[in-house]
Symmetry: C2
């Protein structure tokens, strides 16, 4: 595949760390929430292996944080998601599909409850700010909604725990998955959560002061040599294998949460009011016809996009939504939306690649 350059502009925002990661040799970007997201420093295969073995520092400032506060903030946040938040607690984060009134997925953020009626919504790639503002304006809710001036560093990989302990002390490793707390570095306290877009373990550091964040960023590399720390980025093969979905790739507003495997996060029998409730009930009663599943394809072609999955009669049984070469499985791993009849582990299919049929098999997520 030919490579193309990215044109920078103010509209495609840089982060406080952009200058640094360019000095560190970033090669490519994508754009996410109107902001630059680094994608590779060396090559994705080496980065996959390194992420699974050591520790990486990621500039994931693109996970913009929409702050929703005010008397009706709890109500507004609940209106947007099918997950019952009535027993949510300060100090926890929650993975919540955001849903529109027809039951389509608008975004799949991690949301942080900072105080009663103060939330931070760490968004995937769609303008949740505008959705929240629209609902609030339409319902005349008493809320304040804005994009907080927060940039996120992720520390991911099996050695992230040791590296973080060296900086923040033992308390950081006591933090449980999807919990957050405040931790001190020099004179500053950072909100840090045990979370991140990999299955290798790690933390996300929510930087509300760029100067301090840059000092911390440098510090990771100053002291992290013994853990073989490197700059990195979310790795598609790793996150596909781990079953971490990517909004815009694997799911869109035209998909509903049942199709995306979120049954356990759709609380139709709860007392809480949310926008898609009525239509999600109908969808549930009618049953879904397709579902996201993992796939493995016997190929090392890294440019699989807009590909149909075919059964033995060459009929379309699904569409491939994400794909990447996995150095672990030594084949392409992917996520596909697949007709019910074929949503079984080990079912085989083929794809037509330049008039050559290539075999694959369906598998559960996360992949084993």
């Amino acid at each position: 595949m030919k490579n193309f350059y990215i044109s920078k502009s103010r509209r495609v925002r840089s982060t406080p760390f952009t200058k640094k990661i360019e000095e560190q040799g970033v090669k490519s970007y994508t754009v996410y929430n109107h902001m630059l997201l680094p994608t590779t420093f060396s090559n994705v295969d080496d980065e996959y292996l390194h992420l699974k073995k050591d520790v990486q520092i990621w500039d994931v400032s693109v996970q913009r944080e929409i702050e929703i506060s005010g008397r009706d903030a709890n109500q507004l946040v609940q209106l947007m998601t099918c997950r019952d938040l009535s027993s949510s607690k300060v100090g926890s984060c929650y993975y919540v599909p955001l849903i529109d009134s027809s039951g389509g997925i608008v975004n799949d953020p991690l949301i942080y409850k900072l105080e009663d009626n103060i939330w931070r919504v760490c968004i995937a790639d769609s303008d949740v700010l505008l959705y929240a503002k629209g609902i609030a304006d339409g319902k005349k809710l008493n809320v304040k909604i804005f994009e907080a001036n927060i940039d996120t560093i992720a520390v991911q990989g099996p050695k992230s725990f040791k590296l973080m302990e060296d900086i923040f002390g033992n308390d950081i490793t006591k933090l449980k998955f999807f919990k957050y707390d405040f931790f001190k570095f020099k004179n500053n306290k950072f909100l840090i959560s045990r979370s991140g877009f990999s299955k290798q373990g790690g933390y996300e550091i929510h930087v509300d002061n760029a100067k301090d964040g840059l000092e911390l960023y440098d510090h990771f590399f100053d002291i992290g040599k013994k853990y073989n720390v490197k700059p990195g980025a979310p790795n598609h093969a790793e996150r596909i294998e781990g079953g971490l979905l990517s909004y815009g790739n694997d799911m869109l507003i035209s998909d509903n949460p049942f199709e995306c495997g979120f049954e356990k996060l759709v609380h139709l029998n709860s007392d809480v009011e949310f926008l898609g409730k009525e239509n999600l009930k109908k969808i549930w009663d009618n049953g879904i016809k397709r579902k996201l599943m993992g796939v493995k394809i016997n190929s090392n072609n890294i440019n699989l996009m807009n590909v149909d999955l075919l059964n033995s009669n060459k009929e379309v049984i699904g569409d491939l939504r994400s794909a990447a070469y996995s150095p672990g499985f030594k084949k392409i791993v992917g996520i596909a939306m697949i007709n019910n009849d074929f949503c079984k582990n080990n079912k085989t299919f083929s794809i037509n690649l330049n008039n050559k049929f290539i075999d694959g098999e369906i598998c559960v997520l996360p992949m084993t």
Copy 2:
């Protein structure tokens, strides 16, 4: 400046024309509405001169079209904009700032009235779909809102009229500015508007059938040699000189329409209801403190981003939002948000570029 590659994925959508423009030698992209927007084929200076002299074909499919229809469609579209649409007509397009309840700019689309209660909103780079859905869900409006499957080809430049006449006949040149109609090519009718993101004249062709659109695309190059037709893209220097604002670059949700020079499109004394009306009245009564103006800077540095404008005492008087080298003016042209006191033609300022002060002057838009 070092160049970086763009990483493609399903989330950053290709258009029906992407394959063709890559064969035609596109060099770089930006991402706009979660989709690829070509930015250069040769170099932006040559493309500036060519656009002003001949005719270019642009793949501007990123101008996604949000269709809003149903019993309350007129009401919803009006709620989103400060421009009074009560006398709007089928066959016309309207440039309308979309506004949130606090008076901030959400987007600046061109909207097409297709029928009473059927609109297409051709959006700049923010998810207007989610804003519209939020309002509709909040107010329980009877509307259908979706992103239409439409991709846009722009034909821009002084020779666009002759080229279009050769294909669509004399009627196309009778079409007045910001009007649209349906025109036949082979067996298909295309919605074509006299519009486009340049000041060189031209048309936008709204393609609702990719196969037919691709045939038309090829036809432009088959018959357009005598007009020196070339593939192209919106040109920053040209559009800055012309005073065409770019959402995300020149203005954001933190700016209000008065600051952006849209006074004539803010109808506070009309009878129509829109979301920002109350707060825009307050802003108008209090008066604004800054305004978008043109700037010319005595430099050929093409990487001016996040730059402050300084007065003779080196105090900040504004911030530069767009900048590009203009082969016409032989200096940098830009758009900046400038404190009221300095919003005068020919006022001088300086910028600090790597500890060297460079002079510039403020000017009205469009530039002369």
